[in-house]
């Protein structure tokens, strides 16, 4: 067991939890940045320096693109703008429990797979800490990311939360792929970075457009309300 790798794995998992369950957008983006920035270091041996740098820069770029697509006034303080679409629907404690369960399943799967490897030990290790191999950590973190992110990625109606969930989900599947099937080649790692950045670019466009649309809608509603007040001298009158 490599304590550094375990620490990174915990950081990535906690980052994923924050990204999908934080109520504030800014906190969710911080969680996403932690996940995408730390994931490249979750491997033993580490990839080539150029590949590692490309993955880190790509991950940070993906998080920054989402940050840049939000105007300063809309980050963090817009929690009560649409509270039903903020944070995980089941709450962070439930998400954390799901992540823990996914960790256990992931480590167990990885232990079984390593037994099956031609170069493997043939029997699972008796020491529980010895189960935390690099591939087991990759599988566990990947599975946890998939479990906590799949709902916001595929169901959430809010663009930002959906895109954050999508990035966490994609990162989780890439981790799972490395954990289950061994460290991918450099080109495959770079292709994963390209996919993450493409998703972030698309997501930033969607987030920007969605925010603009909501702002226009709010202005229109406000002007309609003002007009009605001017006409009726009070709140919007409704037909019986």
């Amino acid at each position: 067991m490599n304590p550094w790798l375990v620490g990174i794995a915990f950081a990535v998992t906690i980052g994923a939890l924050i990204a999908v369950s934080a109520r504030e957008n800014r906190a969710a983006l911080v969680g996403l940045a932690v996940v995408l920035g730390a994931t490249p270091f979750l491997g033993d041996p580490l990839p080539q320096l150029s590949t590692l740098a490309a993955r880190v820069v790509g991950g940070v770029l993906a998080a920054y693109l989402l940050r840049a697509s939000m105007a300063p006034a809309r980050t963090g303080s817009d929690v009560d703008e649409d509270p039903a679409q903020r944070g995980a629907g089941i709450g962070w404690p439930a998400e954390a429990l799901l992540a823990i369960a996914a960790w256990l399943v992931g480590v167990s799967i990885s232990a079984r797979l390593e037994v099956l490897l031609p170069t493997g030990p043939g029997v699972p290790p008796e020491n529980a800490l010895a189960l935390l191999t690099p591939s087991a950590l990759g599988t566990a973190v990947g599975l946890a990311s998939v479990v906590v992110a799949i709902v916001p990625a595929l169901v959430d109606r809010h663009e930002l939360r959906s895109v954050i969930g999508g990035l966490i989900l994609l990162n989780g599947v890439l981790l799972l792929r490395g954990g289950v099937a061994g460290t991918p080649g450099d080109l495959e790692q770079l292709a994963g970075v390209a996919l993450l950045v493409a998703l972030a670019v698309a997501g930033s466009v969607l987030v920007s457009r969605g925010a603009r649309r909501r702002a226009v809608g709010a202005r229109t509603a406000k002007s309609d309300g003002d007009g009605n007040r001017r006409v009726t001298g009070g709140p919007i009158s409704r037909a019986p």
Binding site: L116, P118, V173, G185, L187, E188, A191, A198, A202
Partner: protein, 496 residues
Amino acid sequence: MSVLLLAALALPGGLATALLAGNRRLAFAVGLVTAAGCALVAASISPEDTVPIAGSVIGGSDGLRTLTVAWAASTFLFGLIDALLGNRADVLGPSLACLGVGAIGLAVADAGVGFALVTAGAIGAAVVPSVVGGPDDRRRSEPGGSARTGGAALAGLGLTSVRSLLASVLLALVAVAWGASPVGPFAAAGPLGEIDPALESGIGVTLLVVVAALVIRLGAIPAHIWAARFVQLMPSSAIPPVLGWGAAAFALVALGWVDVTISPAAAPLVVEHAIVAVVAVASIILGGLAALFRDDVEHILAYAIVQDAGVALLAFASPDGAAGAAAGRDWIVAAVAVKSGLAAWLLVTRSTFGANRRSDLRGWARGAPILAASLVIVLAGAVGLPGMAVFDARATLVGEALPQPISALVLVGSYAPVLFLGRLLVAGAGAPAPSIRDAAHAAIRLTFDPGAGWQHDRSPVHLVRHALRENRYPLAAIASLLAALVGLVLAMRGLG
């Protein structure tokens, strides 16, 4: 090196075009030059052309050359049509980027790289046009699309499209991970190639996972809603990179992976093939019926794509993996090229006549004979004639994957384009509707008067620009005719 050169040309060119989209003329100039250059570079791809890069090998092939040349030519023609019709330049840049990464994805043997790259390109092409150009811009540019668009609908469609593309690539990556794992077919098969029952189950489930990814990616039934809405709401020029060439690249990577991973395992997979065949037949029959019963050309195109996806899925239901894969490759490339021609026809016809319903398009062929020729060529490519690759591929796929007499019925059903495209042609030959009679700009106009002399405002440059402006609709029709010809050529020769 030529594949890398293609990517090195398409990616920065596409990015520059996208960034310059606010300056329409410059964006189209950069984009069209890039697309033409890509077609030239793609023509130089050869099987001997291999480059080791980042621990992998990027290699060319005859099939890749055919595909990328047609893809680049299609991108160029759609850009030209958009430029002539006065549309925005939002689609051309992402289309070029999609071509660049898609070419690399297809040139690498590793399926994980291929799935990731072809999806990365498609995600950009799916979203950027839907949200950069608002409904007002499209109202100016595409008369037929004015009432169908809205900011909320486009934004919702963008999110749905991204989710669909993401779901398909995630499923595919999971399957690839299984294939390379210690319980995958390579590591778990016995020394004599015997199949362990657990491994057979794993192979079957993985085949279904890959097919599920394809069903979502190609827009086959039951995952057709997003594709139908995409065709209905998006600019027509955004259809080929997402549901055409991009989807074809994804399917080719999947076919290659199944060919290497699942087919050699010699597992019978009877139940799994039957499930895939049911989905494919549903797409063929229901897609054809939906195209028949819809009146607007966008839905006809959408359900024609659904039907083509159904035929493509039969490649994964074939017990003879090699024959199915070869026919599947020919079919996928030909179908995509032909439907790109249909999308070009749709774009030009809708812009020329300001109508998108068959009832409103009565007599369109009389007013626009070039467009009529274009649709005739599309029909020929979609149906196929004996000896053409598309004809043989369809017969092989249906015959290999389905038992008699179901295969005969499905084969008949797969010829639905004769009816739904034929109806458009018949409507075009009828008495013109009022909107068609008023569309005088559909015909070629020669306003050059030799007797007027060389006055300052009648210089050759002025005359050429004037003639181009006056004849932009017929010129766009010629471009759509060329797109249809690209489809016909691929329908005749397949992937090669």
